[in-house]
Amino acid sequence: MKRFFALLLFILASTAWANVTNMPKPDIGKGGQCVRDTQWMRENHMHLLKHQRDETVHKGIRDDKISLKNCIECHASLKDNSVIARDDSFCVACHRYEAVKIDCFECHSGTRKSAWLLRNAK
């Protein structure tokens, strides 16, 4: 009986471990926390972005803190300055895992502004 429980425990533990290892592991760039805690941001970042886009386009409010540009500034990969370039890039990693297609970057740049400036300076 003891052996059976040990086996059961082993199976459960290993499936739990497998779930953990399958989780997306995004490259968070510089990272850090400036708006809200990580779990809140995971659930609600899209509402903040959508609210801010209307404020910016229609009223000219360019508050840095929750602008898409500012998110990218910290979260773009330190390797390639992008949030969309690779499978484990900050935006791509989770959105691919959850199968949620985003079209932000059809128009918006996914590159850190400072890096873009360096590349496009005359």
Partner: protein, 239 residues
């Protein structure tokens, strides 16, 4: 006792002064680096006064500056190239007088592009800038038909590596934004800054102390197609 008090007062005065001097540049830097958190208000009306007499034939500096600032691509024009500002040459057939001038979105007070837009994507900001909200634009191009100045372009091809300040994408209509991303941080539009002859004067038409309002008050200037009564913010002199 009195002596001590004066010293204390003086010390406080100087330290407050020193603190103000130390903080002020920081505050200015903060304001420059960060966008405004206040919404734009309707007291301002951005406009331009373009001196056609100063605009030189063959000079394309405003167009080049616009293309670079907004990432419209350089090089040769193709049938699908975006043109936010373009140089036009006009000639009076009877006198033979020739003129060269820049033409772009005239930022009308009553914009026909806004009237015809079925989704509300084409809109006028309170400070008079006519823009396209590309989140709402469905690319129907009614606004391009409605504009009497042929000021708008449609993005036909997929784009890459846009300026982070100027999002643009396939399937939407776009036009001159008066460099709204520069205005909102206190800079001038790229074309006005680039003109070697200072033929483009940019400013607030509603502010009686601004250079543009004072000049509009004393020199003869016209609006293009004034007969349509759209009241554009872009005015031309020397036509």
């Amino acid at each position: 006792m009195n002596d001590i008090n004066t010293q204390r007062r003086n010390f406080l005065k100087t330290s407050v002064g020193a603190a103000a001097v130390a903080i002020a540049p920081g505050m200015l830097l903060f304001d420059m680096a960060h966008g405004k958190s206040e919404p734009v208000n309707g007291k301002v009306r951005w406009g331009m006064l373009i001196d056609a007499g100063q605009c030189k034939e063959g000079c394309n500096d405003c167009v080049t500056a616009c293309n670079k600032e907004n990432g419209l691509g350089s090089g040769t024009l193709t049938p699908t190239s975006a043109q936010w500002i373009r140089k036009i040459e006009i000639k009076d057939v009877s006198s033979g007088r020739e003129l060269s001038l820049p033409m772009m979105c005239q930022h009308c007070e009553s914009p026909p592009c806004v009237d015809v837009c079925p989704t509300g994507a084409s809109f006028k900001r309170p400070d008079g800038i006519v823009l396209v909200d590309k989140h709402l634009c469905i690319g129907c191009r009614y606004c391009m038909m409605a504009c009497p100045y042929k000021a708008r372009s449609f993005v036909h091809e997929p784009l890459h590596d846009q300026n982070p300040d100027v999002p643009r994408g396939k399937g939407t209509v776009e036009s001159c934004t008066l460099c709204v991303h520069r205005l909102d941080v206190g800079k001038q539009p790229a074309c006005a800054e680039a003109c070697p002859n200072k033929a483009i004067l940019f400013g607030d038409l509603n502010d009686p102390n601004s250079e543009i309002a004072q000049k509009v008050h004393i020199v003869a200037s016209v609006q293009v197609r004034a007969d349509l009564q759209l009241n554009p913010s872009i005015r031309y002199m020397g036509l």
